[in-house]
Amino acid sequence: MSVAARLPRWADVALLPAVTVASAFVVAGLVVLAIGQNPLEATRILLVGAFGSWEGLGYTLYYATSFMFAGLAVAVAFHAGLFNIGVDGQAYVAGLGALAVAHALGFLPAPLLATATVLAMAAVAAAYALVPAWLQAKRGSHVVITTIMLNYVASALMGWLLVRVFIEPGQMNAQTSRLPPGSDMPEFWRIASWLGADAPKTPLNLSILLAGLAGVGVWALLWRSRLGFRLRAFGANPAAAHYGGVSSTAITLQAMAISGALASGLAVNAILGQEHRLILDFTAGFGFVGIAVALMGRGHPAGIALAALLFGTLYQGGEELAFDMPSISRDMVVLIQGLVVLFAGAMENAFRGPLAAAIAGFGRAEPPAPTSVAAETRADG
């Protein structure tokens, strides 16, 4: 990292992510060509599916809400130098918080019950994220390995609970009974109907406002608070942060707890917003989309919001595309997701050098940094 070519700030913030993401789409377009379809036509169907109707838009934003939470969760941990691959598992167990509190406090009036349920879900997810955090801080187990393992543990645990313990009596499907309606995050079509208006029925619900608030909150936390400064300092240079008085144990626990709490938003959107009951695998792997979203958004809430919207578009539009072009299944979106992680995450430095050279080639922008280029060639040897 230290020897990567320097870019002017505007290029670093806007151009580089645009180029890496565009590359992912070019590769995806070549795959579409190889399958024997027209990539431009595919893109058109995808965009119409995602934005061409109020219904499509509702679904696009519903997906984007989940991805926003997942991306923020990954990003907060990333700023502290921790790779939280466990967002999916943390969101999954957050469902238990919903089950416990929504039923136990079912007597509360609607807004209070929903608030209490959301907080309980955040607490459960944060607690689940604290396990790998504590293991890393105190026992030296790498958080990447433990969060992967805990995803599978969560999946087994929830599978058992849903199939054997909390299954709705008389149900064949592994799902719980409906949560008390007071815990619902109201859908927008429901709100519209209260106001006497008619809106298409989509799962888009108030969680999207929560996601926006979470985005602002994460920005304020990271760049406007003492904890955020410590967190970023620890991520940038743990030794220096330690010297500056940052406790590695405390910061690891705090970062992972916040990350886990954000992960629960995905469950809030899916459970309180749409399903209103726990079902098997309700996270649908969206926690992993968070990795692509966080990398593409470069760890900044504004970028994450854009990236979440892009992936929301892909998920909703991809569904329409699979309908119109059966040879391009929804798995296309997962492939694009992987390519985005590859190009925006892993290969970024490969784009950095040529971009810096291109910008310098346009003259006057910024002189090339000869030392860094020389260092790069030497380091490759």
Binding site: D331, M332, G338, V341, D380
Partner: protein, 323 residues
């Protein structure tokens, strides 16, 4: 667990379930002993399983399928190598990218090619690996105790099962008894020292990742052309991650990796066998418990409560020459 024969069947199924784990785990071992983390084992298993099934179906030869699986998996390993060695990318990000892209890409192409929701057509005859019948398996099967062991355990396995059991000692031998292996382990612990001795860190790590890709190729091909007779989307079902757990559990040692994979394979076989059955003193044990057990054991081990995990010292970091 009624009879001797049941136990033999259980052990035979352990061997079959362990085989992909052994290949993937040793693949990870090669990568990580050279200092490159590879959480992309799962993705490489899938890519290889897909390529093997498609090519075996197209050519009519399981061996061609195996070769295709190995080549495809090596290509994926080279992407990881380029990103993490040359571009000094975060190795976890690079591995994750391969896992996700493989998951989506294989299902997409499988669906586009065969329009069966990603499943490839069933393989039959020479298109898949058949069980090797050792001489006299039937003749001796009547011999008490030893007969069934010979017939169902030692004989009657896919060629790739035998290969998996050869790869572990070979890996041990190559890593501990050859010059290449010594250098490879050194590059995982102290790349600067290897560099100072005039040996290319980059070259060694590339070679380690190619071996890693080849071994994942065997494991993936076994899934689709050995164990099953088709490719199914997501058919690796977390085996790459169990292999990763086994790698940590075995403390990055080849023969222990073999033993750990057998243990995890045994748990898997047991969970299928015990489904719905009552275990003495405990009652019915949920199948999910056995699914989670390898991961729980690894977490406990990693935390240092039983034994201690000591990964290669330079693992996960790109090597940058000092300036």
């Amino acid at each position: 667990m009624a009879s001797w024969l049941d136990l033999v069947y259980l052990l035979a199924s352990t061997l079959r379930l362990s085989t992909p784990l052994i290949f993937a785990c040793l693949a990870g071992l090669w990568a990580e002993r050279s200092g490159v983390f590879d959480i992309g084992l799962e993705g490489k298993l899938l890519i290889s399983a897909f390529a093997a099934a498609v090519v075996a179906g197209a050519t009519g030869s399981a061996w061609a399928g195996l070769a295709a699986g190995i080549v495809a998996s090596i290509l994926a390993a080279l992407v990881h190598a380029y990103a993490s060695i040359d571009q000094r990318a975060d190795q976890v990000v690079s591995g994750t990218a391969i896992n996700i892209a493989a998951d989506g890409g294989t299902a997409l192409l499988g669906n586009a090619l065969f329009s069966q929701g990603g499943r490839t057509p069933s393989l039959s005859g020479a298109e898949r690996f058949h069980d090797v019948v050792l001489p006299g398996a039937d003749v001796f099967s009547g011999v008490p105790f030893v007969g069934p062991v010979y017939k169902f355990l030692l004989s009657g396995q896919s060629p790739l099962v035998y290969a998996a059991f050869l790869v572990a000692p070979l890996t041990w031998w190559a890593l501990t008894r050859t010059r290449f292996g010594l250098r490879l382990r050194a590059v995982g612990d102290n790349p600067a020292a290897v560099d100072t001795a005039g040996v290319s860190v980059r070259g060694l790590r590339y070679r380690a990742l190619i071996v890693c890709g080849a071994l994942c190729g065997f494991g993936g091909a076994y899934l689709s052309v050995g164990q099953a007779a088709f490719f199914l989307p997501h058919m690796s079902a977390g085996k790459g991650f169990i292999a990763l757990a086994a790698l940590v559990f075995s403390n990055w040692r080849p023969m222990r990796a073999l033993a750990t994979c057998l243990l995890f394979g045994f748990l898997d076989a047991l969970s299928t066998n015990l489904q719905g059955a009552d275990v003495p003193f405990v009652g019915a044990v949920p199948v999910q418990f056995f699914q989670a057990l390898p991961y729980l054991l690894t977490i406990v081990l990693l935390a240092g409560f039983i034994g201690k995990a000591t990964p290669p010292k330079a693992g996960g970091r790109a090597y940058v020459k000092e300036r």
